[in-house]
Point group: C2
Chain length 451, copies 2
């Protein structure tokens, strides 16, 4: 047997022996049923102490690769070889290169080092109690940190008792939809055009989505009032997908609607710190904490894969949200919660967002320039913010180019086909060349469709 142990390698002899034996059994080089040398014989052959071999054998017996019964020789276990082919790891990277995805931040710029520092601090300092995951609302450390962060970054008015940690917007809104449905709500107003997932999540809880138009000033609050709905989900700081900001008058009207009619505003605050022309508008929640359920996450701010978000609940909803969160078993892992608390407290979230704003603003400008050059008739909407640019293609609204864009036939960006927008184009994480390539491809396809 070529076990190839190296003294002085970074792994100990025991680790090396264990890993090598495991590999040989897994790979089938040591077939099922094969008798292994006695620990004494192997130790002598390898020139190591017998204890090292005994420990490796014991571990591999515990793992099920080997079998050993008192007095009998150690053998390779029958069930040890796994014959099912493993799943291939995906290659989303390559797919994204020319797609200009409008909903994913620059993941290559993810602050691995700073995040690692916070993860390490969190795991080192986590009190033992935290590992028990006792409070479905999340750990106090993060709820305190978010309270402080959202006051200054979003002009929100959170009470720590009513901050709930979620595993992202979808989870936070799903829990809320369940609670509202259980309280007898039947319909919920959604923006039109809007984020399709708002509808899907609401429908999952049996809520009927009611479409309310969005114009250049955001949600048509007059239509909302006429709809008879008692709850609405909005994206006031940066409407998805039109990119407009809810105007000052509309904000006042919306808050009045909630006050007068006992309505609930669900504020989807997905990317508000990513504003490139000025500071983002403050959260609605700060103006009416008992009328607004505010939901945010790190998905656009850092990375969706972290699965961390927050809900600022009106006090009257905190109890039911907490129960639903507990009994649905959703919510974020404790070490990740503690890491985010540390990351915020060090100022690292602000620092990351500052850095991203500079990068994203420049990438957005490059996209606009490429569009202006290759598709001079395309119109771009919305404010300078977030991760997407809404685009109306040069062929008139009813034209073939627009239909192709709306149908996703162009294969670039995200099709919309509503509100005068054909496509959302992303720019985050794409190089100047990748943007130019994708826009050239888009222009060629549009011209093909309209010729």
């Amino acid at each position: 047997m070529l076990l190839g142990l190296h003294r002085g390698a970074s792994a100990t002899l025991h680790e090396q022996l264990e890993a090598r034996l495991r590999e040989l059994v897994r790979g089938g080089q040591l077939p099922a049923g094969m008798r292994l040398p006695s620990s004494r014989a192997l130790a002598t052959a390898l020139g190591v102490s017998r204890g090292i071999v005994l420990e490796a054998y014991a571990q591999l017996v515990a793992e099920g690769y080997l079998t050993a019964t008192q007095g009998a020789p150690t053998r390779v276990a029958a069930t040890a070889a796994v014959e099912r082919p493993p799943l291939p790891a995906g290659s989303l990277n390559d797919d994204r290169r020319a797609r200009l995805a409008p909903d994913v931040p620059d993941l290559a710029a993810f602050p691995r080092e700073a995040w690692m520092r916070s993860v390490r601090a969190a795991l080192r300092e986590a009190p033992v109690r935290a590992l028990a995951d006792a409070d479905p609302r999340g750990v106090p450390e993060l709820r305190n940190a978010l309270m402080e962060y959202l006051v200054r970054a979003r002009a929100a008015a959170p009470e720590p008792e009513h901050v709930l940690i979620s595993s992202g917007f979808t989870q936070g809104f799903a829990v809320l939809s369940e609670v509202l449905a259980a309280r007898g709500l039947e319909a919920i107003a959604v923006e039109s055009p809007g984020w399709p997932r708002h509808r899907l999540i609401a429908e999952r809880s049996g809520l009927q989505p009611v479409a309310i138009d969005v114009d250049a000033h955001g949600l048509r609050v007059d239509q909302l009032a006429d709809s008879g709905c008692e709850a609405v989900v909005v994206t006031p700081a940066h409407q998805y997908p039109t990119g407009v900001v809810l105007g000052a008058e509309r904000r006042a009207e919306l808050l009045e609607w909630a006050e007068d009619g006992d309505g609930l505003i669900i504020e989807d605050d997905y990317d508000s710190e990513l504003r490139y022309d000025r500071a983002g508008v403050g959260a609605l929640q700060g103006l009416a904490p008992e009328r607004v359920c505010h939901i945010g996450s790190v998905s656009k701010r850092m990375a969706p894969g972290l699965r961390l978000g927050w809900t600022l609940s009106p006090s009257w909803l905190t109890g039911p949200l907490t129960y639903e969160q507990a009994v649905s078993g959703s919510g974020a892992a404790v070490p990740a919660q503690l890491a985010l608390a540390d990351y915020i407290a060090r100022g690292d979230l602000d620092r990351h967002l500052r850095r991203m704003r500079v990068r994203y603003a420049a990438a957005r400008e490059r996209l606009l320039a490429a569009l202006a050059a290759a598709l001079p008739g395309a119109r771009v909407g919305g404010v300078a913010a977030g991760l997407f640019v809404p685009v109306a293609l040069p062929a008139a609204r009813a034209g073939a180019g627009a239909r192709a864009g709306a149908g996703g036939l162009l294969g670039i960006g995200e099709p919309v086909g509503a509100g005068g927008i054909d496509l959302l184009l992303g720019f985050a994480g794409y190089s100047e060349a990748a943007i130019a390539d994708a826009v050239a491809m888009l222009a060629a396809r549009v011209h093909r469709c309209t010729d």
Copy 2:
């Protein structure tokens, strides 16, 4: 201003200045509206370069602690001071000391160092695509690692396409309950006595729990057949709370029930590797992968706070489970998934469980000895496994002691009051002295109740 910067400290001068200024604003020592010295003046006063001060000011402006407009001096922002009192961190540690909680592993023995090694490797090596969280079923790396682990550790028969990563048993079962209810299931059989949360989760999805008795051989499959239920949730390897193992005949009957009547067995595999007298019985899933939905997690194996679990789905349920997982926004964070994949591949999960089995077996023996000495009439049930010992108090079933135990009046362990069990007592993570104290307290309270 006493900014106290130290050259040669582990933090850079810039980090120190930023942290110190943030602290002074937060603490109110620099009041709102106060004008700060110019960057030039402060740099001179501190003997540092002006760039360091400019960078710290810029970061704190971005964080909202300071305001700066072109040409005007930098000032402390008006909204910067947070006046709400933060939440206190809990002290579950102390509470647990004498409680003998039966459902929490020894969290002080959590393998922080080995876990940290895997977290570090995962974060360093995570492909960029992974941070996008594209597949609601989880990352391929962990689904492959679990496939391999569950074959050898649980004699399961997982197909990687049908492994879903969850954030724990509750989340996995909640998603399954939603899917079953949406497919028209109305009732679900649960064990009696059983884990109360099985009922709560099922009821949340509108499923009616139907109680099926448990005896010394586990679930009464004859009763299940008579119930007309089409699905049942069971704990075959270690029934909660009676501690019995589903007997060989019952296993065969249960699988036959599923085959003959197109029934679904939901296997709650919460602690099966924690068996102290022999190897745990294999998973039912390995015998009938299309009839069994197998759900496990790291909650008892490592720590509930990690919020990581797995579901081995019958192939016909994978699609709906995947959709429900996506639209409920539940599921585990990607870095944690990758860390668990690494942790399993290194053999560290097996190693940790080996270590815990030795510790838990000894702690369990200490509890049994303390009980025998202080409450000689108490009867202990179940096999040598898991984190709890089922106890029937010495006063006969209908006695005052039993009622007090069942009502939780004794304040030790977890009250049951069914199936001839008054209490579950835990032992994991308690010192010999803590166990002796708690048992003495229990004995005194039982005697008080029965005198």
